[in-house]
Symmetry: C2
Subunit: 168 residues, 2 copies
DNA sequence: GAACAATTGTTGTCGTCAACAACATTATTT
DNA sequence: AAATAATGTTGTTGACGACAACAATTGTTC
């Protein structure tokens, strides 16, 4: 019964007078995850949360979020794609892509061009400033990727990419 | 210039008359991901989407979602925890945990007990039926985990868990 | 060629989720 | 006793996935 100074309800140690005032509750790891530790989904959820937060923080100066970056990257590499094609390739709903493109078009990063072959669809292109911006975004994204490597290890990151390559 | 029968705007092949009518647009992989292929966050997002959908589908019969499962598992392994402790351990906002517990309590799976030591907090416990249900949930969750192993490979799944163990 | 079906972009709704902010109640600190 | 902090709760905001409906256009089929 090692109930030294551990609050039975919270599992957090009462902060001692001399200690830092409520900085971190150190004993969170004492709480068992049980079978959760063996579930890939749990670890992946936590990891994805961390990785997106770091991406957003690293690209905060240019105000670009992960989804926006993915859309611009694909359009940049494949000019003239339709919205359907981009949505399918990235696993985004075409309804959602409409708003994403509205936002990017307002910022003059992307333009919708009337397609000559299919008058239903739009051909998507980066604007001139969109291409310049994307180069900057990619630099910052690369910096974010280095944060990932620092967090989980360079070799582990590469193995992770290999393992999940079937989802690309 | 290998534009055989590839629609320039969509990147999708025109469905040939004899072929299945608009089943799958097979040539989505032809669209380049560019630098996106080297970003862990992109792969992780796609993977997390897949894994959550499979979890939800596999546990659809008992109507339990990943977050609900994680909450019940932690409470089951650590009876008497406060809401704060559970929220911190799982990385859930305590505001969000309120609704999750409301739902689980309505279904008589979890109960909030007035804490004797701290009258602000609730001690969380599984009900009797909650414990029985959790055993069933864990069986189904294990089945889901086998789906994951089938998808990415048994050894890869274990390496993934090892790589991401620092996020548990 | 006309009727029918499918695709594309768009608009809208619904439910989930993370991130905040504010508040009342209760504990802790000084 | 007064100031400060923690806990549970309520509410709002914005991003997101899933779905359904619609007009315009294209493709198919008779």
């Amino acid at each position: 019964m090692s109930s030294h100074s551990v609050h039975p309800a919270t599992g957090t140690r009462k902060r001692r007078p001399g200690k830092s005032p409520s900085r971190h509750t150190e004993a969170d790891e004492a709480i068992s995850l049980d079978t959760l530790a063996g579930h890939a989904g749990y670890a992946v959820r936590r990891f994805q949360l961390w990785i997106f937060q770091d991406f957003i923080r690293t690209l905060a100066a240019v105000d670009i979020k992960p989804t926006q970056f993915s859309v611009m990257t694909v359009i940049g590499a494949n000019p003239g794609l339709s919205q359907m094609a981009v949505a399918k390739r990235l696993g985004i709903e075409r309804a959602r892509l409409v708003h994403l493109l509205d936002s990017l078009e307002r910022r003059k990063l992307v333009k919708r061009v009337q397609s000559a072959v299919d008058r239903r669809s739009h051909a998507l292109h980066l604007t001139a400033s969109g291409e310049a911006s994307l180069r900057k975004f990619k630099q910052l994204a690369a910096e974010h990727e280095r944060h990932v490597a620092d967090k989980i290890g360079k070799a582990n990151r590469e193995q992770l990419l290999r393992i999940l390559s079937c989802f690309a």
